[in-house]
């Protein structure tokens, strides 16, 4: 006998279990349809939301969508749940939790105190009955600040990852894109290269180069080569200068196994990076990427909808006190997020759920050429996310990643949103931009037209 049901005008909708209720309450998206778990009609979808809204939040502590015995992510969620923090909202239904989040009682301090008391399933559930404006308003009230060589996530600021990828990891090619990004005021979240090769020698070569550039030009930022955690651990063992340990993560144990990781391995990676003591203003040393659909694509979703799986990845992330976490929202393709509308909604859900759970969320606002999306969709999502207080976005030269073959936000895009919303870079990085002469002294965010002297000297030899 199903425990979850709702009647609309005499028609009874039944939902077999909690994960089925969550899946059918989810806004329409191709990945849940591919998995065969989406609502069969628009009315069933709203009936599921009505049933979900009446559910006590505490239900999610008693019934888990993926069994405790089968999944270490579920065990992490349940074992580390903070009941004291949860007490503030433990009496509420999902529907009244939305009302509370929107109320003045839910201010920055209250939301920060609540975060360890929330499970990913609670965050996912309430997001499913929220509109875009709700996702923005509540996320805007959440503040998650992290630090390594600069401070990310402060009010009125938005950072950028400088993503200088090259098809063959050519150091001069990577350096050329780094110059492009720095001259446009980008790179405070991280200078982060996706290597074409997972070879530890290539990775080490890139790490040494990034370290030397940051040291020579005294840039208050951190570097990362986004390779598998085991490769980074090996590089650290060989003496490579590692600031941040990167890893793609997902919300189920089996999906993480597909990535070749588990919680113990992530802990090992974090310990290795902490042992180097390379941070100057903080010691957040992890960088995670996520994205809706990764569990389904690994056939490791246990019948749980892709947005709930994604929220569970944030429980994995927060365990390891990351500097940066971003959803790569449009990268996975149209079989999971079909068009601009689905990508937009997913990006805002991911940002909201991450922030609510206390994760320093950024977003790779992006799309592939086989998705029904274009630059207009990305402009809209960037503007919405920046309004919601996103910690950082990507900066790719001209939006065109020539290694990964997808389109993300550009350095120009970052300057657009800074101008429209008055958002500034991380304070330490902003000071450097002024000191070295990339920003005009005194004026907010105005670029100079000439190359600053250190870079002018570096380029002079090329003639």
């Amino acid at each position: 006998m199903p425990r979850y049901a709702h009647t609309v005008d005499g028609k009874r909708y039944r939902f077999a279990d909690l994960k089925s209720l969550l899946a059918k309450a989810t806004p329409a998206r191709s990945g849940d349809q591919l998995a065969g778990i989406a609502a069969g009609s628009d009315e069933e979808r709203v009936a599921a939301r009505m049933a979900l809204a009446e559910l006590p939040l505490a239900t999610f502590l008693d019934e888990v969508p993926i069994p405790y015995e089968q999944d270490e992510v579920t065990r992490l969620i349940i074992d580390e749940h903070d009941k004291t923090a949860f007490a503030a909202v433990s009496h509420l239904t999902v529907g009244d939790f939305r009302n509370w989040l929107l109320s003045e009682a839910a201010d920055e301090a209250a939301l920060a105190a609540l975060a360890p008391g929330l499970t990913p399933e609670m965050a996912a559930a309430v997001s499913k009955i929220m509109r875009v404006q709700d996702l923005i308003l509540v996320a805007k009230k959440c503040r998650v600040v992290t630090a390594f060589r600069n401070t990310i996530g402060l009010a009125g600021r938005m950072a950028t990852r400088l993503q200088p990828n090259h098809p063959t990891d050519d150091p001069a090619g990577v350096a050329a894109s780094i110059v492009d990004g720095l001259m446009y005021g980008c790179g405070d979240a991280v200078i982060g290269v996706n290597p074409a090769s997972d070879n530890v020698h290539t990775v080490t070569t890139l790490l040494r180069m990034l370290d030397a550039i940051i040291a020579k030009y005294r840039i208050p930022t951190q570097a990362c080569v986004l390779t598998h955690v085991t490769t980074t651990i090996e590089a650290i063992g060989r003496g490579a200068p590692v600031d941040l340990v990167f890893q793609s993560i997902a919300g189920t144990e089996s999906a993480n196994a597909g990535f070749g990781i588990n919680l113990a391995l992530l802990a090992e990676g974090r310990d290795a990076a902490l042992s180097l003591r390379r941070g100057t203003v903080g010691n957040h040393v992890m960088y995670f990427e996520t994205g809706q659909g990764s569990a389904l694509s690994a056939n490791a979703h246990h019948g749980v909808d892709q947005q709930t799986c994604e929220a569970r990845a944030y429980a994995v992330a927060r365990k390891f006190k990351p500097l940066l976490v971003n959803t790569v929202v449009g990268f996975i393709g149209p079989e999971y997020l079909y068009d601009g509308k689905q990508i937009t909604r997913a990006g805002l859900e991911d940002h909201f759920c991450g922030k609510l759970l206390g994760v320093p969320m950024g977003c790779d606002v992006c799309y592939t050429n086989h998705a029904e999306a274009d630059q207009d969709d990305m402009d809209a999502l960037l503007t919405l996310l920046a309004s919601a207080g996103v910690n950082y976005v990507m900066g790719v030269p001209g939006s065109d990643d020539v290694m990964l073959n997808y389109q993300s936000t550009s350095f120009h895009d970052a300057l657009y949103i800074r101008q429209v919303l008055g958002l500034r870079p991380a304070p330490e990085f902003e000071a450097w931009l002024r000191d070295i002469g990339i920003f005009v002294p005194g004026e907010a965010l105005a670029l100079t037209q000439d190359l600053p002297a250190p870079f002018r000297h570096a380029l002079a030899k090329l003639d």
Partner: protein
Amino acid sequence: MDEPADTPVIPDAWAKLRRFTPARIALGRAGTSLPTQAQLDFQLAHARARDAVHHPLATDVLRAALAQRGHTVTTVHSAAPDRQTYLQRPDLGRRLDETSRATLAALSAADDAPFDVAFILADGLSAFAIEQNALPFLDAMLPRLPAPAWKLAPLVIATQSRVALGDDIAVTLHARMVAILIGERPGLSSPDSLGIYLTWQPRIGTTDAQRNCISNIRREGLDIDVAADKLLWLMNEARSRQLSGVSLKDDTQTPEERLATPATNFLLDSRP
């Protein structure tokens, strides 16, 4: 195209770095935004990439060209009836529709004398890739596979296809090995990139770990003859070692080539 001198566009002072990367650097700015020319260049590249995804493979033209060369050729479809379904249902793109299965069954080899290899020309995510690269590749490849050493299945053209459709085709034809030439996901600067996936003894449910891939075959990418040599090497190895996938890959990759790359660059060579 250079902007005229009286333009409001502010040029970037590091344009000479373009020699180091195909990335869209030093685009200049209008205020802090993308200048008109760069914006339109991007839109053209995106339009071409999208056209590559949605352009239907001209199967009749391809058939005629292959027949003219004396090849036996047949056309099949996946279970995905149209492009929109194909993009959202990768599972349907991995299996044959029933009509195609019957067509292929009529062409299949006897159980005790299977084909050595089946070549498939598959639209994948870019029909442009097949239209521009498949014939030149086959012209280079097929002379490397003389009879009787290689017993070739009839050539198969496949539409609305994923890589794993090749498994279904090979099983139906009774082929011991399948090489599927397939249009790769178009990048902004590479709308016509061809990939080849080789699988030894393909079965329904074969995973990507059991395949070898040769990627980025196109005029500006991997050379046709180099690709044909690589595939021939892989096919010979697959047949003699009775396997394909990760364990073959190690022998063909040469990470040492990358190690030769200098660890330094213009940002670090000079004194500040």
